[in-house]
Symmetry: C2
Subunit: 419 residues, 2 copies
């Protein structure tokens, strides 16, 4: 925290002096010289070899925004990324979004709803979408040749019911924090700073109890979600790009997002036993069917007295297991979402129409290469996973998340020095 960076608790200081047109002196952070650079409580680091919000233990809240880019020149895009980098570093440290003196005769350098709150473990993660490299064939920023092969256009999967307004984007910003107001505040500041250069395309809120649950958190289907996720120790080789791709992405990763609406009303009327066969796990313990412990290996060959697999052929965990996919693995970092309720009409027995939850899972997968990660895993699952009876993928996107940056650098800098 530098000397000219007031902490958020002191932003604007005493505005008794804040009469119209009077520039006011921001109060300095109340820090002794010896701890002038100490991170505040509940702050996650922003600078580093990798971006935060990927291997960072999940926070309670997500606010995710995909943007279209209206910046017309490469210089404008670089300037935007520089401004965003500075603001993101400040926000994660609990400081007002923009540096400088706040005058009451000027619009806010920070919109204020985070004043008095700690950073709540805020992380801000940037990703570059295909449209940043070329858009309708135009290479606006001279980056087309640098598009990584791994930043692949996702194929159409069986069952996809994608809504254009919830897909794609030239750039994304993921804000995660232990408070939804902090996550919203972060995206809002960055969108505000990017006015005229980047425009919102779609957004998504999410929540998770990972932070509060003793063990694996549950999704809205009531099952433990993430039992097979790689541990922090095992994740890095799965997640981080390295020498196999372009040098500018070394230390970065590829993010796939899927907005998965879940027919909760239907799911809730299924027998527990059916739910368990759908997942391949017991609901309460999370143990694979036939087992007793959540973390024991699933026995995919065990059969019952009739010779049927105890973990059915269409069970979710059978299809998702790396062991059944040539070792393909991803890091999942998914948030449940609740976007209210809207009208649904079903024209087949048992017939139903009415208001249903627009809720489900905002699935996020991070991997070194989506072609050997999410795409490989989901191609078969999309066809035969028993879960598909209750899930519909309505949003989809893929982003290249560049490596982290150092103080003084900016997010994506390696791309622009490469191109």
């Amino acid at each position: 925290m530098s000397n000219e960076a007031p902490s958020r608790r002191h932003f604007l200081g005493g505005t008794a002096a804040g009469l119209i047109g009077t520039a006011i002196e921001p109060a300095r952070a109340q820090l002794a010289p010896s701890d002038a650079r100490a991170a505040p409580a509940q702050a996650e680091p922003f600078y580093g070899p990798h971006q935060g919000g990927i291997l960072t233990p999940m926070q309670d809240s997500l606010y995710f925004a995909a943007f279209d880019l209206s910046a017309t020149t490469r210089a404008d895009l670089i300037a935007l990324l520089k401004s965003w980098t500075i603001a993101a570093a400040r926000l994660t440290a609990g400081q007002p979004a923009e540096p400088g003196r706040q005058s009451t005769d000027a619009p806010p350098l920070d919109t204020g709803e985070a004043l008095g709150l700690d950073p709540s473990r805020l992380t801000i993660t940037f990703g570059f979408g295909p449209d940043m490299f070329t858009l309708n064939g135009a290479d606006r920023y001279g980056l087309g040749a640098q598009r990584p092969a791994a930043l692949v256009d996702l194929p159409r999967f069986a069952g996809d019911e994608l809504v254009a307004g919830q897909c794609g984007g030239a750039l994304c910003i993921q804000a995660c924090a232990n408070d939804p107001q902090i996550a919203f505040h972060a995206i809002r500041q960055l969108a505000r700073i990017g006015y005229g250069q980047a425009t919102l395309k779609w957004v998504q809120t999410g929540f998770s109890t990972a932070n509060k649950t003793n063990g694996t958190p549950r999704n809205l289907m009531g099952f433990k979600d993430g039992t097979m996720n790689p541990t922090a120790a095992a994740a890095p080789p799965i997640v981080w790009a390295g020498a196999e791709g372009p040098a500018w992405m070394a230390g970065g990763t590829y993010m796939v997002t899927r907005r998965i609406r879940i027919a909760l009303e239907h799911w809730d009327r299924m027998k527990i036993a059916f739910q368990e066969q759908t997942f391949g796990r017991h609901k309460t313990t999370g143990a694979p069917l036939g087992g007793t412990n959540e973390f024991e290996p699933a026995n995919f060959t065990a059969t019952d007295a009739n010779g049927d697999y105890i973990i059915p052929e269409t069970a979710h965990i059978r299809l998702a297991a790396p062991v059944n996919n040539g070792g393909a693995a991803i890091l999942r970092r998914s948030y449940s979402y609740n976007d209210g309720a809207n009208f649904v009409a079903e024209r087949w027995p048992p017939w139903h129409q009415g208001i249903e939850y627009d809720s489900g899972l905002f699935f996020q997968a991070f991997q070194q290469d989506p072609r050997t990660g999410f795409i490989k895993l989901f191609a078969r699952m999309s066809k035969i996973d028993a879960l598909n009876q209750f899930t519909t993928h309505v949003g989809s996107a893929v982003f290249a998340c560049p490596p982290g940056t150092r103080e003084g650098g900016f997010i994506g800098q390696t791309l622009f020095t490469a191109a």
Copy 2:
């Protein structure tokens, strides 16, 4: 907590035994007889003279649902309210929604996503809307004569842009908790239990930092929100209905909800001084203009050197103050909302079209009588409050929240014994 009520942490017990068709014995709560009725940590009481979620200190998350009633008889409606009362009491205590033995050969008695989580200070508050008393002139439940005069149809206010799908309802359930998954879980269980008798009409999520802020929390406009709210000591006579209305509502209250979309993008481009004149308060301190302390009385007569009021005639706090409204007062218990973003086109200078936040404030007011509370206060504000330049009321509803109930009773019981 009765003996047959397993705590949520033990629901379904070990399901190693939970094979298809096997009824399993729920594990008992691990409670010694002496503390068998002790409330778990983070539990708010459900039973009592008043409903929870009104004077209860605000929680972090709101999930609010308005329902249409499809119950065809009075007996069906009473049965629904009895089932809901039992479930609501169980949920607030952190128990599975429905009592009884869970068989794996049956749909869930509880959908499971709250397993392993504490009650997170969950409160569940029921309200009865005009449509419960009569609907299109039909008195379905023999309750028409009991509709309180205070359960008034709100007038059309200046600037209203109400969307039918976000208004009204025969009944509402408000769930507040310190975790959004717990609030969602509660509404989901009650909607599930009410299947066939009550159907979702509209829903609303919300969040607040009241619980985390040292002092008055801030809304999405960055200002402290609730400075003038009555204290816990002052609130009861403002909130609770008494001898002035029907006996069945004594100890109840009237809730007005307004879904207020805020043009945050515009607000964020206003000068701080303009924002402060709009509210009539300093942004950082929350002090009334001309003052230095948040809680000092606003001086509505003070003028500047030009003879203009320091707190402008159209400032929000001038118009909202009880002292300027013949003492009219309400208890506000409002949550910010973030429902994503959608397309907005503005056809006047400075011209703008694009994706804007669908965010703002889900305003809730509780009072003894809306005619002398919200309606009186808002009638003038809706015409001249400077805030109106940035706010649009798109949802509206009014509900009679009956008094609380005792164990063995049910919510609304006094209404049915009166009618």
